[in-house]
Symmetry: C2
Subunit: 346 residues, 2 copies
């Protein structure tokens, strides 16, 4: 009898041990280590951002604006505000700065206009809203939020989106608001180089860069949100829409897993469904946010030839910024208000 | 010693048995049963399609057109053509028929125009192309293919997409081409009912239906492709874009897993990333195509409140049509040329 009892106990142990060693269990344990009760990550674009091309003055300007935006989001979350409010208002600061390719600093399309895209999603309800190709809205991220909250739709485009935003009382600006000399020169340069090629040459760092700003946040109630806003690519033609207004590519949030905002060569991000893929790997393969982000950005996307990066936060407040380019403007804030700003590879 | 040997063997057995019972192993076996070396599935929309609302004449017309389209695709594949050609040319037949909400039969937007969306993707390269809100292209699916093959972009919108398609030599039609009395009456009816509500009342079946046509195919070289084309929702406002031109929502193809085309309440399909989700469940959870399609359409999408369905084919030629509405116009063709047409629930 003793022998059988021993075998029985051993069997139970072995069955348990093989359950324990499954990836599902392992990752759950990793995920269960809560990093922050609340927090946020922001980005201001990824690309060939190299220290040798940057002046100390420009570096200081980028850092100060990223810090200001992160601080704003932190205050909202610290005061018990929603992740949705934190995302929207943090992005306002980036949209209102001429430094980033979104809102005020948006690049010029081939037709000499600024065509802006944005999207937002909340993890609790999986509600989402987006606008594409708007030309007269000061803060496209707020238009995306209005689409989410006050329409039956997810994605509205161009004049239609502008009419809807006007009905919602959002701030309309003259299209000249988006004129910045530096961006206009970038368009001329791009046109001289290749009439048909859309790209984004950052006038400040004199290099190839993907613009776009974004923010992901976790609030004290455990709700995730993500938002992205962009001017797209300099010299873009034919009313091209990139990944920023595409839910699942440029933006995704799900309280089960994580919130993600992308920046990079949008066409690859759409084809790879980048933002949703990170969530799917966490949900279906029980990977941690860090593992999933690394797999998608450093392996899958790179193999396809796609440059760029993402910021993300999971339900445990893990803060991630993953990119396969030399640099990405970014900032992380933890629940203690510690802000870490980064520009180049660490 | 004998006791230890017995325990050792039992341990090996238990460890093995728990590995064998993992879902990964089970599903791989199911997937390995090849159904067809080539084949295709098409759809012409899902919704409240009930036999009692349908005349025998209308039923015969729908069935004949679905059969003609399926036959066309089969001939291309049988002769060694690509899945991409089969998808494009099959969809042409559906776009050129007034019966379906795509191309010729597209519904009217609130502004009295017909605004068409389409997308296409090939599983071998993960290349994709799409157009949104085009008003003068006879076959939007071909414009999507041109975007994929002859531009650096994935998604072009409205006038820009029309200009690009014209440069590519595609057939431009007068906007009056898309006038059909039945659809125009549907718009008037929708406007009378609720000025702001976008919906799709099918004039033939007098019921609520999601239009959209689509095709997924596997060719003799083992390459998958998927395509979707639609007129969107009757009475849609503000240049609303649904899921049909969104890669990952309305259309997805990946030679690793499957090709999917969606039809339904587009906003839910975007938020749930329906087409990519089915592929992700196959890739990450080793589910069969049937299992993944059922889980997404009957469980996840339904819980969110989303109506509609998908057609799909995997690398082993399994043919799937899954919908959570009373009916979906559909047809399947196997490698022997057997065509199965369906309208209502089986």
């Amino acid at each position: 009898m003793k022998k059988f009892a021993f075998i029985f106990l051993l069997s139970i142990f072995l069955l348990n041990s093989c359950t324990d060693s499954s990836p599902e269990k392992k990752a759950t344990t990793v995920n269960e280590m809560s990093k922050n009760n609340f927090g946020l990550v922001i980005h201001g674009g990824a690309g060939t951002i190299l220290k040798e091309n940057m002046t100390p003055e420009m570096e200081a300007q980028y850092e100060a604006t990223l810090k200001k935006a992160a601080q704003k989001g932190y205050e909202i979350l610290q005061n018990g505000g929603t992740s949705l409010d934190a995302v929207e208002q943090t992005i306002h600061i980036l949209e209102n700065s001429p430094l980033f390719n979104a809102g005020k600093g948006a690049v010029f399309a081939n037709n000499g206009k600024n065509e802006l895209d944005a999207s937002i999603m909340e993890g609790k309800t999986l509600n989402a809203g987006a606008v594409a190709g708007v030309t007269n809205l000061k803060n496209p991220i707020s238009a995306a939020r209005k689409v989410m909250e006050n329409s039956d739709h997810v994605l509205l485009a161009r004049q239609g989106a502008e009419e809807f935003a006007a009905l919602q009382g959002l701030e309309i600006v003259d299209t000249s608001y988006f004129y910045t000399e530096a961006r206009f020169k970038s368009l001329q340069k791009a046109k001289m180089g290749n009439q048909d090629k859309a790209a984004y040459i950052d006038p400040y760092i004199k290099e190839y860069k993907y613009g776009t700003v974004g923010c992901v946040a976790l609030d004290k109630d455990g709700n995730l949100a993500a938002g992205t806003s962009t001017g797209g690519m300099t010299n873009k033609k034919w009313n091209r829409i990139g990944d920023s207004p595409i839910i699942g590519a440029g933006t995704y949030a799900n309280n089960k897993t994580c919130a993600v905002s992308s920046t990079g060569h949008g066409e690859y991000f759409i084809r790879a469904a980048v933002a949703y893929d990170i969530s799917a790997m966490m949900e279906y393969k029980s990977m941690s946010l860090e593992e999933a982000a690394k797999e998608v950005i450093q392996n899958k996307l790179k193999k396809m030839g796609g440059d760029g990066g993402i910021i993300a936060i999971d339900t445990n407040g893990n803060l991630v910024a993953e990119f396969n380019t030399p640099g990405m403007y970014r900032a992380k804030v933890d629940e203690n208000g510690n802000i870490t700003v980064g520009i180049y590879k660490e």
